[in-house]
Symmetry: C2
Subunit: 457 residues, 2 copies
Amino acid sequence: MKRLAMVDDTFLRFESRRQPLHIGMLMLFEPPAGAGKEFPAQVAERLKQSTRAAPPFNQRLVRRGGLHYWEQDDEFDLAHHFVHLSLPQPGRIRELLAMVSRVHGGHLDRAYPLWRIYLIEGLEDGRFAVYLKIHHSVVDGVAGIRMLINMMSTDAEASRQLPPPWEVGTRRSETNPLPIPTRTAGGLSALRSLTREGLKAFTPVLRELRSSFQDFRAKNADLVVGGQAPRCLLNQQVSGTRRFAAQSYATPRMKAVAKAYNATLNDVILAMCGGALRRYLQDLDELPDKPLVAAVPVSVRRDHTALGNEVAFTLAHLATHLDDPAARIVAIKSCMDYNKERIRRLSPAQLVTYASLMLMPGAVNALLGLTPDKALGNIVISHVPGPRQTMYWQGARLSGLYPASLLIDSAALNITIISRHDTVDFGLIACRKTVPHMQRLLEYLEDALTELEGTIK
Amino acid sequence: MKRLAMVDDTFLRFESRRQPLHIGMLMLFEPPAGAGKEFPAQVAERLKQSTRAAPPFNQRLVRRGGLHYWEQDDEFDLAHHFVHLSLPQPGRIRELLAMVSRVHGGHLDRAYPLWRIYLIEGLEDGRFAVYLKIHHSVVDGVAGIRMLINMMSTDAEASRQLPPPWEVGTRRSETNPLPIPTRTAGGLSALRSLTREGLKAFTPVLRELRSSFQDFRAKNADLVVGGQAPRCLLNQQVSGTRRFAAQSYATPRMKAVAKAYNATLNDVILAMCGGALRRYLQDLDELPDKPLVAAVPVSVRRDHTALGNEVAFTLAHLATHLDDPAARIVAIKSCMDYNKERIRRLSPAQLVTYASLMLMPGAVNALLGLTPDKALGNIVISHVPGPRQTMYWQGARLSGLYPASLLIDSAALNITIISRHDTVDFGLIACRKTVPHMQRLLEYLEDALTELEGTIK
């Protein structure tokens, strides 16, 4: 029996009926050339032969004396964890997304290890989908993606011999190491090391805070402080029903835009989100005058050989007040460059402290409601690097890897992006009730990219 | 805005993550002769054109000042409420039951009117299924069945013109009145009328209690008191995961057994349940020495022209300590006759009072745990009369009507039965975790019926 880390436990304690705190991943696969229509069902049949699960897939939650522990589950019930589904005709992506939306909305049962995997067949284009749902107390997003990649292979033939995902677990694949960052304890270890660094470590933090305050007084548009976000329809209480939307955009297209603006892929992602959200909110006559603010997790890893990682939230505005797409990406890049400049001047521990303090005005406002028209932020936009090579599973080629994250009150939309060598895969999850017709954002993201391409021709 | 009745409100307040308190109904339909494979999808397409819902399908829950109210919902979101699903190959009843088990296990979202309807195609035998899920705070079981029957027609052609179930709502169909009892407020109105009847109404109750006490001292096997049930694996805390099993048994077969024993159809149902449960628990080496006790809701309706109904729980033992099927049905019939004798001597109000007092020893024990090896009862077995004629919907013939009830802690299995003119349809719902391989009961019910038939040849 192993006691849960405090940060993992949080995801159990803050979970509620309207706020399930699991995360999901939708994977699309292309069957190998010459495979028949029955290929996905054959894969499902093979997986159903499994009789064992590896950690964390065999860990069951136990509550004793108000504390949570992981205990090895000896009653492996595959039919509970693995589900074979079929889409109704015509089997468009639309039907798939509707199904994943419903499945993602349901709670995982704490009487079982906290995961489920669905194999979904019946897509009209011949592909099939795998949707994994796992509780955030078991794994965080980055580690989850790493885990999934470990379950696949870069070799199509070799991938046919791979055991089911739940038999692989989190064991690191020695034969297939990929440079995917994992998060180790995140903020907590940063705070610990800050304590170790002692009081002198605070000096750079204070210097940055002073400089931020000067920028604030000078109304520097690149400085974004927690609590300056304009409250909008994304800042509502969430229902228990979700809508999931997902689409891939070609990496070369996005990289060409990045290159023209001397920007990063991440800047282009934020510019696409800004453009799409502007239009979406405009349609509903809900666009605030002030720019939307995104909380963007930033990797603060320095040692590129290590797999361990530290993540801090940085705040970026999405320039949704600007009509011109070129002006928008320039403003976003400027804001992100400003953020990165500070990040570079601070150690990971100092950065976490600085970031927390910059969020503080918004957190105080969220608690006390001093300025009800302001929010801590409007949306979380996470960009996670994915595999850089073509991956295979059971002989089928991975053609899309779309994250479905979690929602909490006042954050009714989340966009998580996985960038791969050929496509950048966007996964959007929203409260169905409060964020109407969210799937329109997919089209608006495409339009935003096309607009950006138009500015560099 | 209408405040919820106290009894309806109870189902909201006692609902928990592990104990969703909605009820379900699985309906199987045979498409009309000559209909193509695409028939179910065409029905689904037609239903998707709907733009309105009638009460109670348009009532949304509102909570104000700690109280619950129904409010008209003006944001009808059909795609939330109506779901078109397809079974994976081979599309056996087994796959259908697995799907309904999963769907029945999930909570309804309180941000929407508390119902969902699933049309499920892909059964290998050409039939299709409709599964309705509705919160018990909206409708009780008997009224729910009545509502469903009102949505169908006895005329195949006319049934093609019927609007979707949610447009019909609870309006009574004038053209198609069926003698289906509905429950009006149940115990509450009984208590009210008992108060009206005044103190003299208690005299018969006291007389019955005295007589029961004499029978208790004389160890009359027909007297079953709450709290004498042997605690067994059915009396466990439930998980949030369900297993649903359903099967039809021919009404004439069961009626022949009933006739031979001068028993009722209900006695045969209980005898089948007793036989099946005995074997199921024997397999697991979990059969208690003392007979299992079922709580059996009994209609106490006197006026057969009225639709209003009163229901009281009566306790019956299932003679699971007896090996001989003939002895078992005789003992069960004797116990039920004994119960009915008392029922006949009491007014509905008196009966509810008597039944509550007879449950009391078990309730006190459940609260205080005085004799931990005893339970209030082991299982709820409900028998609800269904339609007596062949019913049609969208031109398709109703071939099965299986209820999926709710579970609470210490009642990890529920069997609800709808008797129709041609088949008696059993719906079994259990906690998947604590009642292993519950679907075996279907086969054991069939065996129990065959055994009973063997005793009368």
